[in-house]
Symmetry: C2
DNA sequence: CAAAATAGGACTCAAATGGTCCTCTTATTG
DNA sequence: CAATAAGAGGACCATTTGAGTCCTATTTTG
């Protein structure tokens, strides 16, 4: 449907590594990259961004590295994504002011998008890194996809999704 | 956060025009384009795609045009988006097979993303075109952004992977 | 000081998007 | 039947964006 950038995805994977270890464990870019099989420069770039955003604490110099700035259950997906791909909305238009879209003024659906966008943001905000790093069991994480995500009780909505590609 | 393509956005605006009129009303690309202040070729392109996807019924020839193939409350956002930007998932990886991502095998969070992706899909699937076209009142549409979208009970709770819900 | 790490950008390359145009087919109408 | 008004279906280009690399500081440790 929508696509998150790959970097954000990687970032979460990277952070999950921390979440799966001891609390204050410190790891450097090289080891981390090896762990998730990512090219070092890539991992490095992402880690830097994460550190800049305050999600990771960094330590320079020999024996330096990164560690989580907060407990894994105190970090939400929304924050990670924000850090890695900026606070953009679902649509160009729904993100704050109507700078990009020239039809914004007469756009009938603008407000709705903002609502939906906000809902997603909240949803992502309520999923913690800890739950992403947890076991694939029907634990907290599976629940993430479990609930039908009640949103708009679209009046007769059971529009069948017929067309199977 | 994520961004939907502009075309999908436009498509929804376009469809909303139909939803705001009489049931079987027919409109041609030119008029529609004028109504939403979009360049005609763009509108045309989008309408064609929508028709191909079966969301609009088209009539060729003089006095031709498009009209909704179904009732506005029988068309979901998910369908529209699928029609306009293909069935891609939140992450490259979460969309079906692990073709694109080379770290898919050892990716700890893959499964979780698929769940989340599915949840969003469902959420969008439950919002009808009718509710997008409706008044900005706290009607069905506002509700879209209302509920906190229960997903993973994250914040400050059992961080440890354990702790049965 | 030397080595090992992060910080911070600049840079390149490929792919996706937005947007336009052209040609063909179908229908209406006089 | 001919003219015209639509949609169908692509081809096409320009720009933006994203992925990924690299180079040069700046900090630490020993
Ligand atoms: S399409 Fe841009 S504001 Fe709605
Ligand atoms: S990052 Fe690609 S499968 Fe998780």
């Amino acid at each position: 449907m929508f696509r998150m950038t790959r970097q954000a995805d990687y970032g979460i994977v990277l952070l999950a590594c921390f979440a799966q270890r001891e609390e204050g464990d410190s790891l450097n870019a090289r080891d981390l990259a090896a762990e998730v099989h990512l090219p070092v420069p890539m991992a490095s770039k992402i880690l830097k961004a994460l550190a800049r955003a305050g999600l990771l604490a960094s330590q320079r110099g020999v024996k330096g590295g990164y560690r989580l700035a907060r407990r894994p259950d105190e970090i939400s997906l929304a924050e990670i994504i924000d850090a890695l791909e900026g606070p953009i909305g679902i649509t160009d238009c729904s993100s704050g002011d109507h700078s990009s879209c020239d039809i914004a003024a007469l756009c009938a659906v603008r407000g709705k998008w903002q609502s939906i966008s906000g809902a997603m943001r909240e949803a992502l905000g309520s999923i913690s890194l800890a739950s992403m790093a947890g076991p694939p069991e029907p634990g907290p994480a599976a629940a993430a996809g479990r609930r039908p995500l009640p949103s708009a009780p679209a009046r007769g909505k059971r529009a069948r999704k017929e067309g199977s590609p």
